[in-house]
Symmetry: C2
Subunit: 458 residues, 2 copies
C-alpha cells in the first residue's frame, strides 16, 4: 500500500470521498432505469453571521475532480465489499461526467440564494458530484471570505500590510491546511507558512523562527546571533520569549554587531498594539510582524490603537474561520427531465424552500460600484439587467475554459471586491446587499408550489 500518512485519497480511490447515499441513489437510478437529465444548483440560504458577502473559491479543485473522475480498482474493490451489484459496479468502472457545469469564477463576491455552480447531467452523474463539490467550494469560499475581510480592514485603515497565513497546525486536517493557504491567497493574502501549499499551488511561502529556537540557547542573544549567522539579512527574529522590548534591543545590537539589516522582528504575545509602539520607539527602522490571535477584529483594534506593523500572521482564526466556521452550501435539484423536457422542481420542507429552475445571476454596476443583483430563470437571461456571472466551464463533460493562475484569480478578486460598496464590507453588522428574485421566477415558483400542493391532495 503506497497510501500516504495524510493523503488517504489517491487517483485509485478519490471518488470514494462521497456520502454512501449518493452511491446508493446512483445504483437505484441505474438499476431502475430512471436516469433523467437533471440540474442541481449549489448555493447558500443565508450568509454566515456578520458577513456582508462571500468570496468564491475552490472551482479549480472541482474541475480537476470532474475531469479525472474515475473509479479505480481499489474503489471498486471496496464497493464490492459493501455489496453493490456487479452490474452497477461495471457501469461505475466506466462512468465519466458527460454533462454541463456553469459556475462563478473564483474570486467573485457572492450572496445568499445565488447559485455558485449549476450542474446539468444525467441525474446519476450529477448526484455523484454533490458531496465533493459542496466540500471543496464551501471550505475554500469560507476561508477566502475570512481572508478578504482582513484585507478589507487593511485597505480601509492600514497601509498595505502583508498578510501571511500561519494556520496550518490548527486547520482541520491537512487538506484544510493546504487549501486554506490557497483560499487565503485568493482573498488577498501575500503568502503562507505551509510548505505543501507552496509546492501544490505556488503560494509564496515564508517563515521566521519559533520560541523553541530561542529557548534552545542559554541566552536569547546567542540564539539571535546564531540565526543571523545562518540567514543574514533574511532573518526575522522572534523577540517576545522573555521580554519584548528588551528582545528588540538585543535584536538591534546583534544586527549591528553582525552588520546585517534584519528583515524584521516578530511579536507573538502580550498587548500587541502597545508593544509594537514601544518596539518602534527602540528600533524604528525594523519591520514588525505581528502574530497571536490575529483576525479582522484584532487588526481593526490594532489600527484603532495606533499599533505599528509591516505585516500580520493570522493563524487559527483564519483557517477555522473561528467566528463563523461554516458555509452552509447546499446542492439542490432544481429541474429534472420528464418526457425529455427539463421541468422545474422544488421541495416544500419547512424553512428549506429552494427556488426551482436553472438560473442566471446578473449584477448591475453604477459608477464602477455594484448596485444590486437579480436572480432569474436561465431562460429569461436576455430580459435581466446587468452582467451574467455564471460562466459555462464544462460542456459535454469537457472543460471549455482555461484555468487562470492563482495571481490572476487574486487580482480579479481584489478588483471585484473593491467594486462592492464599503458598507457591505464592514466587518461588523454589514449593510445587506440587494439580491432580487426576478418577478418571473417569483411567479413561477408560486405556480409550482400550488401545483405540488395540489398534487399532494390527489
Amino acid at each position: 500500500m503506497t497510501r500516504s500518512t495524510f493523503g488517504y485519497l489517491t487517483p485509485e480511490n478519490a471518488p470514494l470521498f462521497t456520502d454512501l447515499y449518493e452511491l446508493r441513489m446512483m445504483q437505484a437510478y441505474y438499476n431502475q432505469g430512471h436516469n433523467p437529465t437533471a440540474t442541481f444548483s449549489l448555493f447558500t440560504r443565508s450568509l454566515p453571521p456578520n458577513r456582508g458577502y462571500m468570496l468564491t473559491a475552490g472551482l479549480e479543485q472541482v474541475l480537476h475532480y470532474v475531469e479525472t473522475l474515475s473509479f479505480g480498482d481499489r474503489a471498486i474493490e471496496y464497493l464490492t465489499e459493501l455489496e453493490f451489484d456487479e452490474a452497477f459496479l461495471e457501469y461505475l468502472e466506466s462512468v465519466e461526467f458527460t454533462g454541463e457545469i456553469r459556475a462563478l469564477p473564483e474570486g467573485t463576491p457572492v450572496f445568499a440564494n445565488e447559485p455558485m455552480l449549476e450542474v446539468t447531467a444525467p441525474i446519476a452523474e450529477a448526484q455523484l458530484l454533490e458531496t465533493a463539490v459542496i466540500n471543496q467550494i464551501g471550505f475554500q469560499t469560507l476561508i477566502a471570505t475570512k481572508a478578504a475581510r482582513m484585507r478589507d480592514v487593511i485597505d480601509r485603515e492600514g497601509d498595505g500590510q502583508r498578510l501571511v497565513d500561519f494556520g496550518s497546525r490548527r486547520a482541520h486536517g491537512t487538506d484544510a491546511g493546504i487549501k486554506a493557504a490557497r483560499a487565503a491567497f485568493v482573498g488577498g493574502f501575500d503568502g503562507t507558512s505551509n510548505v505543501a501549499a507552496g509546492e501544490a499551488f505556488g503560494v509564496p511561502v515564508s517563515g521566521t523562527m519559533a520560541h523553541s529556537w530561542v529557548q534552545s540557547f542559554e541566552h536569547e542573544r546567542d540564539s539571535f546571533e546564531t540565526f543571523v549567522d545562518e540567514y543574514g539579512d533574511d532573518s526575522v527574529l522572534l523577540i517576545d520569549t522573555y521580554d519584548t522590548v528588551a528582545g528588540a534591543e538585543t535584536a538591534a545590537e546583534v544586527a549591528d554587531a553582525r552588520d546585517v539589516t534584519l528583515r524584521g522582528v516578530r511579536l507573538d504575545s502580550g498587548d500587541l498594539a502597545a508593544l509594537s509602539k514601544a518596539v518602534d520607539g527602540v528600533v524604528p527602522e525594523v519591520d514588525e510582524f505581528i502574530s497571536s490571535g490575529i483576525d479582522e477584529y484584532a487588526i481593526a483594534e490594532f489600527f484603532d490603537r495606533d499599533g505599528v506593523a509591516a505585516g500580520f500572521g493570522p493563524g487559527t482564526a483564519l483557517v477555522t474561520s473561528t467566528d463563523a466556521p461554516k458555509v452552509e452550501g447546499v446542492y439542490k435539484l432544481v429541474a429534472v427531465a420528464r418526457d425529455g423536457e427539463l421541468e422545474p422542481t422544488m421541495k416544500l420542507s419547512a424553512g428549506k424552500v429552494t427556488y426551482p429552475y436553472p438560473k442566471s445571476v446578473c449584477r448591475s454596476e453604477a459608477d464602477g460600484q455594484y448596485v444590486g443583483d437579480v436572480v432569474g430563470r436561465r431562460a429569461e437571461r436576455s430580459d435581466l439587467p446587468g452582467e451574467e456571472l455564471l460562466e459555462t466551464v464544462v460542456e459535454d463533460g469537457e472543460r471549455v475554459v482555461d484555468l487562470p493562475d492563482l495571481e490572476t484569480i487574486q487580482d480579479r478578486a481584489s478588483r471585484l471586491r473593491r467594486k462592492l460598496p464599503a458598507k457591505h464590507r464592514a466587518i461588523d453588522d454589514p449593510a445587506p446587499y440587494e439580491v432580487r428574485i426576478s418577478d418571473r421566477l417569483e411567479a413561477e415558483t408560486d405556480d409550482l408550489r400550488r401545483t405540488l400542493e395540489a398534487r399532494m391532495l390527489e
Copy 2:
C-alpha cells in the same frame, strides 16, 4: 503527475505538510552544529469553551507519520527551489526520527495543561514534527470530544440512539471529512456516511436517500416504490420533501403494498421533536432517524420535548465543532540538553507561560470514578499518586506498542469517559475537574523563572 484531486500529499511529499519555519530552524540547527536533545510537550492552555473535558484522538496518524517520515525526490526538489542548502538537503534525504515519544492513548479524557504527547529527540527532528502533530491530534481530539458530548447526552437522557456522522460535505476539506468520521467513532458514534472513511479506517458506513431522489419522480409515492423495489427491507425513506406526516403515511402504505419492513424513515426539517411524535403516532413500528441541525444541544432539547428517535445524523455541527471550532494545541520546548544533561526551559511571554520539564500525568480513582489528576515532573513519577497516563509509544525511533483497532479504542473511550463524574460531562457549564500541578513542579517552575529573570539582567 499521479497526484489525486484531493490528496495532495503522497509518500513523496508528505513531510512538506509543515510550516516553513520548522525547516528553516532545522537547517540552522544542522548547519550551525546546534542539535541538542530536547523535549517538546503537546498540550492546551485551556479547554475549549463550555467543555468539561476533551477526548484524545489522532495518535495513530501521528505514529504512522513518524514511522514513514521520509523526504522523497519531489520534496527535495521543491526545497531546492526554495534555496535550502545542498548539504542540509542531503541530511534531509536521510533523516529519520530517532527519538522517544510518550503519549496518551487515543480515547483518553484529558484536561488543560496535561501533556497529550511528549517528544524527546535531537531538536532538529523533534522540531520537524510540530506542525503535523498539532494538526492531527488537535483536529481529531476536537471532533472526538464533540461526538462524545452527543453520546453523553444520549447516555443520560436517551435510549442508546444510534449516532451517524453526516458531515462530510461541510467538513473543512477532505482530510477533515475522513478524519472526523474516525474521530466521531472514537467518541461513541456508530458510523458515518463517508465512504472513504469506511475504506480507510473501517468505520461502518450507512446512507439513506436525498430529497433529489424524491423530487426526481413526479410523485413522492413513485419515488418510495422505486427505492423499495431496489433495496427492499434495507430502505430508509426520507419523508419531509413535501409534508412529513403525509410522507410517513405514504411510506407505510408503500411498505405494506410491497410487503417489506422498512429499516426506517428520516426527518430532515421542521420542528423535529413535534414531527417525530406525530410520525410515531402514524407509524409506531417504524424507526425514525433525525437529521438537520443536530448537535448535543439539539439532542438534549429533542429529549426534553419527548421526541421519538432511533438515531440521529449530526453533520455540520459535528465535523466543524461549530460552537467551539478549535483545540488550541501547542507544542512547546520544555527541556533541552546543555553539556549532555536535559535542563528545563520555559518562556516568560505574557499569558503564555509553560511549565518546564518532561512530565508525568497521574489520575486518581475512588469507587470507579476519577477524582483528580496531578501533573508533575517525570522524574518524580514514583512520588505522585494515581495511575500514569502517558505511555511510551516510540523508543529509539521505533514504535514499541501495537496499534489497537478502532473498536477497541471506542470501547476504551466509552469506559474511561464514564469514569468521569457526570458533572464534568454536562454540556452546559460543566464543573471543572481538578488538575493539580505537583508542589515540586510549582516550586521548580518558580526557581526557573527567577533564574531566567536574573539571566536577562546579566
